[in-house]
């Protein structure tokens, strides 16, 4: 990934900054300039909204044939997460026993290395998820 392309999305990848439509209250992640529901009414009314970082698993898989840059982690678990705010996103589940993963499992975001340009190049960081029951108090 080119440097500017990564850099542009640092706020989203590190902090889960999405937007809230101040017209209808809907939360979007990744951010949108226009609310698909309110369209013109929402223009210039989309404000930053930081996701709390907790959510639950909607669906999941264990990847055995990763792209070359993810081989150190293989096999690893990917999931679609529904965040508490209702938005969904795709993320890596870390520090987890695959047998324990199921729909509805509570997870929390934690920043990890997503990859790197090359051994000499830029390191990409961003959100991954871990099970809340082994990594948090609740």
């Amino acid at each position: 990934m080119a440097i500017p392309r990564f850099w542009r999305e640092i706020r989203q990848r590190y902090k889960g900054i999405g937007v809230e439509c101040k017209n209808c209250g809907e939360i979007y992640f990744p951010p949108r300039d226009i609310c698909p529901e309110c369209r013109r009414e929402s223009y210039k009314k989309m404000e930053d909204y930081e996701l709390k970082g907790t959510g639950e698993v909607v669906t999941y898989t264990k990847v055995h044939e990763p792209h070359p840059e993810f081989k150190d982690l293989s096999p690893y678990v990917m999931a679609i997460i529904e965040m508490d705010e209702g938005v969904r996103l795709t993320g890596h589940l870390v520090d987890v026993d695959y047998e324990q993963v199921e729909r509805g499992m509570k997870v929390e975001a934690s920043m990890r290395k997503l990859g790197e340009e090359s051994p000499e190049g830029l390191i990409y960081y961003g959100y991954k998820f871990w099970p809340l029951d082994t990594h948090g108090k609740d």
Partner: protein
């Protein structure tokens, strides 16, 4: 060095990666009796970071939790210092990435520190200075490492990963830092040249003229300054490259094993370098009661020690119901791995893809 105005800890947290490898497992690969070596070093296992963990991710997680405990937002932080000897970049600060991940930037200052195993406590002192001088309200001091020992080297049995973060401020303190003092010399006991992957060390030279000399001198000076006796402290935390050194140093200084116990994590997680003293202090604070007095002395090769005299306040009680896991809880979430998986995780397998 006495603070001009009141300064101390508003929030803290430690983070240690989940994976563990035992000295026995390492020894098996190199034809050594790892089990016996582990016993000698008093290290039962060491933590290993997952391939997607580094000083940035460890620092970020610990800092996020510390902020939750301090009940402050990113924008409340005016300084972040990250101490480590394994910053992911040689040039490009860890602290800027951590600051962005906490939404602390841009109106703040940030920098990385390196002072072998005491870079974390160096960050403490900087934040203390900025807070007590009134230049900033809140600063973040982090010590974290993903240290590496060359394959088969003695360091490999202990070099581990972990870190802790502290919100340093002047109000709502959980613990006041009454005093800090340092002892610094030019002692070549351990180093890593630019561009080298693994550090070099002076073997047994790392003991008496290095670790013990600095820890002892610094701590003795602190006792002299405060006019306290070892038994006046409820707890003591010393740098812990292995399980033997801090116990020996404590004994020589007149501290008991019980005083060390809560902060002696090396047995379970190995030497977390810049993370070691900050993590040990965090584990101690997890158990502390109001009015407890803690003495802390770090050690960094090269060499130097920083001592701190810390007084726990009534606010510590609030931490008991915190949503943030204690160091003990973090450490208890573990998974043992083989040397081969460890070698893969730490990129010790050449040409691995």
């Amino acid at each position: 060095m006495k603070a001009k105005n009141e300064v101390g800890i508003k929030g803290y947290a430690g983070y240690v990666p989940k994976y563990r490898v035992t000295p026995e497992e390492i020894g098996d690969v190199w034809g050594k009796d790892g089990k016996t070596m582990g016993k000698g070093l008093r290290v039962e296992s060491k933590s290993v970071p997952s391939p997607d963990e580094d000083v940035v991710t460890i620092s970020t997680q610990a800092a996020k939790w510390a902020m939750r405990r301090a009940d402050i937002k990113g924008e409340d932080l005016e300084a972040i210092y990250v101490g480590s000897e394994s910053h992911p970049y040689a040039v490009k600060p860890t602290a800027t990435i951590v600051a962005a991940s906490l939404a602390a930037s841009p109106h703040m200052t940030a920098a990385d520190y390196e002072f072998a195993c005491k870079a974390g406590t160096a960050a403490f002192q900087t934040c203390m200075g900025l807070v007590s001088s009134g230049m900033i309200e809140n600063g973040m001091a982090i010590g974290a490492d993903t240290s590496q020992g060359a394959p088969g080297d003695a360091l490999e049995y202990t070099a581990a990963a972990g870190g802790a973060a502290y919100v340093i401020g002047s109000d709502d303190l959980l613990a006041k830092i009454e005093e800090t003092i340092s002892y610094t010399t030019d002692t070549p006991d351990f180093w890593r040249r630019e561009g080298e992957k693994y550090p070099q060390h002076g073997g047994r030279f790392t003991g008496k003229p290095a670790y013990f000399k600095h820890i002892m001198n610094c701590t003795e000076k602190m006792l002299e300054r405060t006019g306290k006796e070892p038994e006046d402290y409820d707890y003591a935390v010393f740098h812990q490259p292995n399980g033997k050194f801090p116990v020996k140093a404590a004994k020589k200084l007149g501290f008991s094993k019980e005083q060390l116990e809560p902060g002696l994590l090396v047995t379970h997680i190995g030497n977390t370098y810049s993370g070691a003293v900050p993590l040990g202090l965090a584990a101690t604070l997890d158990q502390a009661e109001p009015g407890d007095n803690i003495l802390v002395t770090s050690y960094g090769s090269g060499a130097g020690s920083d001592s701190f005299d810390i007084m726990v306040t009534d606010n510590i009680e609030k931490m008991k119901d915190s949503e943030v896991p204690t160091v003990e809880e973090v450490i208890s979430n573990k998974e043992f791995i083989s040397y081969s998986v460890y070698a893969k995780f730490r990129k010790k397998i050449e040409g691995g893809r």
